[in-house]
């Protein structure tokens, strides 16, 4: 086990993207050939409301350095109101991470619509930068999580 320093650190970031908005934005960013940090791996879900707490916990406790949840803007949900629930669940989850001081900064929710390819690139790049600054997920050395 060689602990990675902040300098030679390649973070592992998981992006949960909703099929209808953020995934489309990711595509648009791709077609526009915007430069996007390679550290984020996309997992597509039909709606951001599919993401349950355990999924985020598992991702985080398995050593992901950052988690980005991308959904439609509130009011734009393809399924009417899914993302309103996403927002609540996210808030609760983040709250608990905050209370427990479990690196809440590593979790981010962003509303990115299908036409916001640029924003997608910006969000991913800035989030990746942030994670790089934060350094490796401290859980990675911890056998308990």
């Amino acid at each position: 086990m060689k602990p990675e320093g902040k300098d030679n650190f390649t973070p592992k970031i998981v992006g949960y993207l909703c099929n209808w908005c953020t995934y489309a934005a990711a595509d648009m960013a791709g077609s526009s050939k915007l430069e996007i940090a390679p550290e984020l791996t996309v997992i597509k879900v039909m709606c951001s409301s599919r993401i349950d707490f355990n999924m985020v916990l598992t991702t985080f406790f398995n050593g992901a350095d950052g988690i980005l949840i991308g959904g439609c803007h509130p009011g734009d949900c393809h399924y009417d109101k899914g993302n309103y629930y996403t927002r609540r669940r996210f808030a609760l989850f983040k709250d608990i991470m905050k209370i427990l001081k479990l690196d809440p900064e590593r979790l981010q929710l962003s509303w990115i619509s299908a036409s916001e390819g640029n924003r997608y690139a910006e969000v991913v790049n800035s989030f990746t930068e942030k994670i790089k600054k934060l350094g490796p997920n401290p859980l990675n050395g911890n056998p308990y999580f």
Partner: protein, 382 residues
């Protein structure tokens, strides 16, 4: 807005509060205003208490309305007999305030049907830790009896969460309340707190006409003291869970028995998500983690279980403390969860068990969310 009841009936306490309560319940059974009473009863071996649903009023003589310990949460007991519908029995459930709050939470989750249930609460002196009581039940009874006679709260011998409980008296959600900390030990105040409660009093020809403000004031003062204690204690508890290392240290003794979950009243799942096939750490994740970290502690995912459970139930946590009682390795689970619960409930502007019919936060949303939530999702907009 809920109507607030400011009047109560004074009844004599000459026979002791337990007897007085039992007589009142007996009267209701006799009149047919109730079909059954859910009440704690000492088990035959005399070393613990169990919840019993009593129909035969003679059996009430053996019941103990205010048990010194809380081995099973009343809300669980109530759930086990009303989960599948209201049935034909008119039931009164005599429970501690935290049990009533849990019952309200469960009713929101359709695990308790309150339609034909009257919830009766009392000024709770707290409960003794189970392990202490089991050491010497006789001594436990004595200690508790003396507690029951005190007008202020003695936090030395009660469970740690009871020691910092600020919600030990009448609640918006109980139907009827026994004000044990009345002006003098000679009287008990019987305070109706809903139409159901008033109805029962009417049946017994009891007129709630006494002013209860002095009792209420006393409770308010006690509450303030408790709130302060709670705050102080949480400062300490905070350090036990903040950050990865504290979390690991706090839960390092956990044996993964999940007793805390199974006795928790608001963990109502048949099978805990974290024991389910769905959430079972799969082969790949164990291998991967071991490879990445050089080693992995087993059984895996114990911290995940506790944090996950906080996410699942902290919004509904009623600080009843059963989890601590049930923990074989004496982790102060209850205090930790109370601390987290208080904070998440604050974020969602929600108080568990305060109001019947109010949706639990995860079942609802607002298009424009509360400040606390907006703070947390900051960065999502744009």
């Amino acid at each position: 807005m809920k109507k607030s009841y400011t009047k109560g009936a004074k009844i004599s306490n000459s026979k002791g509060s337990r007897k007085t309560i039992l007589n009142f319940l007996k009267g209701l059974l006799k009149k047919g205003s109730l079909d059954a009473v859910l009440i704690p009863m000492r088990v035959p071996a005399g070393d613990s208490y169990a919840w019993v649903l009593i129909k035969d009023k003679k059996l009430l003589d053996d019941a103990n309305p205010i048990a010194p310990i809380m081995p099973v949460q009343g809300a669980n007991a109530l759930s086990s007999c009303t989960k599948k519908g209201k049935g034909n029995l008119k039931i009164a459930a005599l429970m501690r305030p935290c049990e009533i709050r849990a019952a309200i939470e469960l009713s929101k989750l359709n695990q308790v049907n309150l339609e034909s249930v009257t919830l009766i609460s009392y000024d709770c002196p707290g409960a003794l830790p189970m392990s202490d009581y089991l050491q010497d039940p006789g001594e436990g009874e004595k200690v508790f009896d003396s507690l029951l006679k005190k007008r202020d709260r003695d936090v030395e011998s009660v469970k740690p969460v009871c020691g910092i409980c600020d919600n030990f008296s009448i609640l918006p959600a109980s139907d009827l309340h026994f004000g044990l900390s009345a002006d003098s030990r000679d009287n008990i105040l019987l305070i109706p707190n809903s139409k159901k409660g008033t109805g029962l009093l009417n049946k017994m020809d009891i007129k709630p006409s006494e002013d209860i403000s002095s009792w209420a004031k006393n409770i308010e003062e006690l509450k303030k003291v408790q709130e302060k204690k709670r705050k102080e204690r949480f400062e300490y508890v905070k350090d036990m869970v903040e950050g990865f290392d504290s979390l690991v240290k706090t839960f390092s003794a956990c044996v993964g028995c999940h007793n805390c979950e199974s006795v928790c009243p608001v963990c109502y799942c048949r099978q805990c998500y974290f024991e389910s096939e769905t959430a079972k750490p799969d082969i790949e994740s164990i291998l991967l983690k071991t490879k990445n970290r050089g080693s992995i502690s087993l059984p895996a995912d114990r911290i995940m279980f506790h944090v996950g459970r906080m996410v699942h139930m902290s919004l509904s946590c009623v600080s009843c403390g059963l989890c601590t009682d049930a923990c074989p390795v004496s982790i102060p689970v209850a205090e930790l969860f109370s601390y987290v619960g208080d904070r998440t409930q604050q974020t969602f502007e929600y108080r568990s068990g305060e109001e019947k019919g109010e949706p639990i936060p995860m079942k609802t949303y607002r298009k424009e969310e509360t400040k606390g939530i907006n703070e947390l999702v900051k960065g999502a907009e744009g």
